[in-house]
Amino acid sequence: MGLFLQDLVNGILAGGILAVVALGFSLVWGIMNIINLAHGAFIMLGAYITYQLFTSLHVDPFASIPISFAIMFAFGYVIQKYVINNVARAPVLTTFLLTFGLSLLLVNLALMIWSGDARAVTPTYAGSNFSVGPVTIPWAKLATLACALAITALMQLWLARSKLGRAIRATSMDIGAAQLSGVRVAQVYSIVYALGAGLGGAAGSLLSLSYSLNPSMGEPFIIKAFVCCVLGGLGSVEGALVGGLVYGIVESFGSQYIGTGYQDAVALVVLLIVLILRPTGIMGKATA
């Protein structure tokens, strides 16, 4: 029973981070129809921003989340405006290729700047923990989960209430109607892509506490983000959250009771089952 509860907690803690990882990916995919293969590189850059702030200026990793969000937001905005925008309405394969190239470029640039050495962000409280009955909970991961939930809640609120947020949702529902109502689609796209990059950066900051940094650290997260999005339902905030949590918990129990070697396989089987039973994802709505 103790192990069961511990696995459940592990799964939820891991799922919270995955939700943020998936959120930026999901927005870009759902609204712009771009499968952003550079998302892993954005996560990596976010982690390195946190690392650099921590080692050079002693900024706490949690305090660096808004900074890496802002830097990556600006970076994403520029990339969208001057690079992605050229192929915005192109077939999916074109954007696939472009974002893949972008990813390669960023990873190799990071290799030049930081080299391939493994690095870590280790504040004094890293690894400290507390116990509730048989379950041990690390403080840093709990705080990470809280941040993840806060970020998703803020995003949800912003998309629902703000003018720009409503414009974004309108664009994702019907681009033609949105344009007719005066929404500047090009600007919406830039903001959405920037948000995706910013959220990737924030996810990288969160990951830097429990994960070790190297230029190719983002790669495994692309497939995870992909699965979370499809699991939860594309392009929605609550979808990414549910997808992340479900993925985290399934992976945790799958590892324990079926075998860690099948970690990815278990998650993909669950994805298949969800797609058969609910093709739009757990939280997805049927499209008109």
């Binding site: 192990l3 511990q6 050229n86 860690t260």
Partner: protein, 410 residues
């Protein structure tokens, strides 16, 4: 975007980069120079290890040239090494080695970085009957193909963690139980298999064994299961990234054991820098350490201490075992060529097969498959932030700190 205006300068720059390596290295073995060829990962995921390999090779080359060169028969030769970047791709590595042999006409091949690339290049040197000494591919599968021209100076994968288990059986109180985790790549699987066999043979009970995907990003389930199994000893066969992930996870869930050991990780400065004082008491296996006390044959630097000193003077960082084993690979060639008294590939191959020398790096002697099964791994422990050799007792400079105290007191 007006990329068209840029296309001409870009193309020229591209062509220039292609021509660069050709212009800067000697074209072929000629005159009084022995030319070695090597395809190592200078870019890509394993570029770090590739660079360490290159440093190890170059250190030997420059030392030998500064000390007069290699004597072959009555004649003295200088040494040159021609490099290509295999971009961390085993197939590319094989192609480049083929090019080194057939186009560049190098005399001998020094190995690439990693087991996968060593595996593909071994097939090429076999076809051309040119001997290769490799220093960075420890998977035994390379040597179970019946090849005659590939030799490895490093101890095979299955021996990586044996030393730690051996040490554990000599400690008071003796470690009784083991939790063993491993990444699911060929090298780590061989390490885990060898460790499990050795532990069973020495009366240590394996209470938990599990493998995880190389790309794993979360090992907390494994950590929970280890905690539930409550072993005396936790060993991991994997790579630097997962070693860090596992060790952080063990602290996060407050898992206590007497020994924490990793096949790869503790010997790199990255591990110590990343974990700070949590790295203390961690035990690692290494092919070599700067403090290992071997007494080498004359003809090259004979002690680890002197090697370390001269290496630091040249490269401004401490040599790690990748550097040392790469230098050792060159040394195997040096002694074999001197013994053969010839540059004939067949004669040098035969001399390699019969080689039996001790170097600053340890013994170099090959079994019939070309594998250096005679060399033990050294066991290092991180003690107060420094890596020191603690086992085997004969080459150790410090006693193991055992058992590890609770996390708060490390």
């Amino acid at each position: 975007m007006k990329l068209r205006h840029l296309s001409l300068p870009l193309t020229l720059a591209f062509v220039a980069t292609l021509l660069l390596p050709i212009a800067s290295t000697p074209a072929r073995a000629a005159g009084d120079t022995i030319v070695f060829g090597a395809a190592v990962s200078l870019t890509g995921r394993e570029s770090k290890e590739g660079r360490l390999t290159q440093e190890g090779y170059d250190f030997w080359k420059d030392w030998i040239n500064a000390h007069g060169g290699i004597k072959v028969g009555g004649k003295t030769y200088q040494v040159a090494i021609k490099y290509y970047d295999d971009e961390d791709n085993p197939q590319t590595s094989a192609k480049l080695v083929e090019k080194l042999i057939s186009d560049d006409k190098v005399n001998f091949i020094l190995g690439p970085y990693g087991s996968s690339a060593s595996f593909t290049t071994a097939a090429v040197v076999e076809r051309y009957k040119v001997p290769m000494v490799e220093s960075n591919g420890a998977a035994e599968t390379i040597f179970n193909q019946g090849y005659k021209y590939t030799f490895a100076v490093l101890a095979p994968a299955r021996r990586y963690l044996e030393g730690i288990v051996d040490m554990a059986t000599h400690m008071q109180p003796r470690a009784q139980t083991l939790a063993l985790t491993s990444a699911n790549d060929a090298f780590s699987q061989e390490v885990a298999q060898g460790t499990a066999n050795f532990a069973n043979a020495h009366g240590i009970k394996i209470v938990y064994q599990e493998k995880y995907p190389v790309t794993t990003t979360d090992v907390s389930t494994i950590i929970s299961a280890i905690k539930a199994a409550n072993p005396d000893m936790i060993l991991n066969a994997g790579h630097l990234t997962d070693a860090l992930l596992v060790h952080k996870g063990l602290k996060e869930q407050n898992v206590m054991a007497k020994i924490y050991g990793y096949s790869v990780g503790p010997d790199t400065p990255d591990f110590r820098d990343s974990l700070g004082k949590d790295a203390n008491y961690v035990i690692g296996a290494a092919q070599w350490s700067t403090t290992a006390k071997y007494k080498g044959y004359p003809g090259f630097i004979t002690s680890s201490a002197e090697y370390t000193k001269q290496f630091v003077a040249k490269y401004h960082h401490e040599p790690d075992y990748h550097n040392a084993e790469s230098t050792a690979g060159c040394l195997a060639f040096q002694y074999a060529i001197e013994k053969a008294g010839s540059l004939d590939p067949q004669k040098v191959r035969d001399a390699l097969a019969n080689l039996d020398v001790v170097t600053f790096y340890g013994i170099i002697k090959f079994d019939s498959r070309g594998l250096n099964v005679f060399k033990p791994m050294v066991v290092n422990q991180i003690q107060s932030g420094k890596l020191v050799t603690v086992w085997p007792a004969g080459v150790a400079v410090a006693k193991p700190e055992y058992p590890a105290p609770v996390w708060a007191r490390r």
